[in-house]
């Protein structure tokens, strides 16, 4: 099983980001995806900055370095940026929108399909394979059983060269909107947001009126309130045919997270239970933890 570090979904200062990746370069990771996937106004890093970081990481770390782009493309300028990103010529691209799939397919380069692409069956995986997809991250709401069925169906169609990467740790991206919820919570118009999401390095917690963490507001993205954690499900991940586990960066404690997953993949016994949720993997509401609903 390979370990993959997903793109940083939050907005961090450039210095924070570079320090984070310097730390991650020393970790036992097999893939690192960089790039901004949420908001085009987050400009602490330009495409050239990201590509420069990618080059450094390629030298410092043994991991495959990839770059991802925006999941929700609205403005013409965003589409132009996406075209430049797809044509970067250095790093493999994770497509987070069908627009990226189209551009990469036209360029004839192989790519990774991110979790915002809707792939729920093997026939769709085959359609994207024809466009150049060679690794996919299933939508976060898919269960292990559903993912396994997609892999099997694709195999029956003769697709044997697509890797499967499952979102295994971190706040899950659940939705994208035209509206910036962070700016809304701060009573700022989106066009004058003052980059207020910089103040929330792990997003803004949105609680129910009874104090339950329901969602995490991250600009135009709405994320899960709980962090997903599939460490206790390691055996079933492996048995389902998953090739990579995606660990989604958080502001604190990522070294410990990578280390914990690394120990388990090297043979340590997975914990019986962990903090965080894993309902989706078990075909249940995503917010649940399987030991709470007697699934284990």
């Amino acid at each position: 099983m390979k370990l993959s570090l997903g793109p940083v979904l939050f907005y961090w200062e450039r210095r924070t980001l570079l320090d984070f990746y310097a730390q991650m370069a020393e970790q036992p990771l097999d893939a690192i995806t960089i790039g901004e996937t949420v908001c085009s106004k987050r400009r602490a890093m330009s495409l050239d900055n990201w590509l420069g970081l990618g080059r450094e990481l390629q030298q410092q770390s043994g991991a495959q370095i990839l770059i991802s782009g925006l999941a929700l493309i609205e403005a013409a300028s965003e589409l132009s940026s996406l075209r430049r990103l797809c044509a970067n010529g250095e790093l493999r691209v994770e497509a987070s929108d069908m627009g990226a799939v189209q551009i990469l397919g036209s360029l004839g380069v192989e790519f990774v399909g991110g979790p915002a692409l809707n792939v729920y069956n093997g026939h769709t995986l085959a359609e994207l394979h024809a466009a150049g997809l060679r690794r996919w991250v299933p939508p976060v709401e898919c269960s292990g059983e559903q993912i396994h069925a997609v892999i099997e169906q694709a195999r029956e169609l003769g697709i044997n060269d697509v890797e499967t990467e499952v979102f295994a740790y971190g706040h899950m991206p659940l939705a994208y909107s035209a509206r910036c919820f962070t700016a809304r919570a701060e009573n700022r118009p989106k066009d004058d947001c003052q980059f207020c999401c910089l103040n929330y390095p792990e997003g803004m917690s949105m609680l129910s009126q009874e104090g339950m963490p329901l969602f995490t507001l991250n600009g135009i993205q709405t994320m899960s309130g709980e962090a997903s954690n599939l460490l206790a499900d390691y055996a079933s991940l492996r048995d389902c045919g998953v090739d990579l586990l995606r660990l989604s960066p958080r502001a604190e404690g990522m070294v410990d997270v990578v280390q914990a997953f690394d120990r388990v993949r090297k043979g340590a016994t997975p914990p019986l239970a962990v903090t965080g949720c894993n309902g989706y993997w078990h075909g249940r509401p995503g917010m649940l933890r399987s030991d709470e609903v007697n699934l284990c």
């Binding site: 403005a75 996406l82 899950m172 939705a175 969602f215 995503g286």
Partner: protein, 331 residues
């Protein structure tokens, strides 16, 4: 601009036809349909009757096979596509690449429209579906500003349809898992958002309370109107403040924008609401027909009448409407 109206039953279909819809969209009675609710939708006999009525009036019928098939259900989606082709409908509305691919190869004469659930917000995404599956129209998600719709329509390889009136999805359609996170059922796979079976209302000491799978969505003071507990329209707490953190209970209404949408080159405007009653479909279709005719007669003098606005407000969630993402300030 074509007026595309919803029908979840034969009476609703007849109402839409009578009141001046140019096209009517329906779905089958199974999970291939994103409006698959008990007691809703037309059976085969009603569909055949509907096709006949609509075609003899010179109008069009579209069928939405617009959820995403999981691997296990694939054959059901194939059958739904075959069924639509067999009925002789004027277009199939679909989102999933494999469904579109199957339809394009098996039924090359069946016109394909990309569903809003396909989540195509830019010309590159539209080019993907056009080049690979030959779609002839695309419905844009409700996330673009008017300026962005203009830019997409100007460069799109296919005509564009936009949402004009009805429930307001504030998330990019096809990209929202909020409902499955809380209830296990999602728009993409189950065609539902905040499903009714997960809803619970209770009178609590703090007030009338709505919950979705036990999660508190909203709580109302005695004089406050209570709305359906859609996840994105509840009141939540952020930084210690209780408010509609995502959106208020409201509906989309773009009747003011008819001249702009027409000038942009939008091919069709869509009314949401296959789950609504025939009376709702009748009233909304009537108002929109009047508005479009009024614009057609004298584009320069078009003005949305107060009586239209009033009629639509009464039919709206929370009795209020918004221009949504079309208007930049909403964002």
């Amino acid at each position: 601009m074509q007026l595309v109206c919803p029908a979840g039953s034969l009476p609703a279909l007849k109402s839409a036809l009578r009141e001046g819809a140019d096209a009517i969209y329906v779905g089958f009675r199974d999970d291939t349909n994103a409006r698959h609710f008990a007691g809703l939708n037309l059976d085969d006999r009603q569909l055949r009757q509907g096709v006949e009525l609509i075609h003899s009036a010179g109008k069009q019928l579209y069928v939405a096979v617009n959820t995403y098939p999981g691997a296990a259900g694939w054959a059901r989606w194939q059958r739904a596509v075959d069924h639509a082709a067999d009925l002789g409908v004027d277009a199939l509305i679909a989102a999933d690449c494999a469904v579109l691919g199957y339809a394009a190869r098996r039924h090359p004469n069946l016109a394909l429209h990309l569903s809003v659930q396909g989540s195509a917000t830019n010309v590159a995404a539209l080019a993907f579906y056009h080049e690979r599956y030959g779609i002839r129209r695309a419905v844009l998600p409700r996330v673009l500003s008017l300026a962005q719709v203009r830019q997409v329509a100007a460069n799109s390889p296919v005509p564009i349809e936009v949402f004009a009136f009805g429930s307001l999805c504030i998330m990019a359609e096809g990209r929202c898992h909020l409902s499955s996170y809380v209830t296990g059922e999602s728009p993409n796979l189950c065609g539902v958002c905040s499903p009714a079976k997960a809803v619970r209302w209770s009178e609590e000491p703090e007030g009338l309370t709505s919950r979705l799978n036990d999660v508190l969505i909203d709580r109302y003071a005695p004089d406050e109107p209570a709305g359906y507990p859609t996840l994105c329209k509840g009141r939540f707490v952020v930084n210690g403040e209780r408010f509609h953190a995502l959106e208020e209970p409201t509906s989309l209404n773009t009747i003011d924008l008819i001249p702009q949408l027409a000038e942009i080159g939008v091919a069709a405007v869509k009314i949401e609401g296959r789950q609504r009653s025939p009376a709702y479909v009748e009233q909304v279709t009537r108002v929109w027909r009047q508005a479009l005719d009024s614009w057609q007669r004298a584009p320069q003098n078009y003005r949305a009448l107060t009586q239209w606005q009033d009629a639509l407000d009464k039919l709206s969630e929370g009795h209020q409407t918004t221009l949504g993402a079309y208007h930049r300030s909403w964002q």
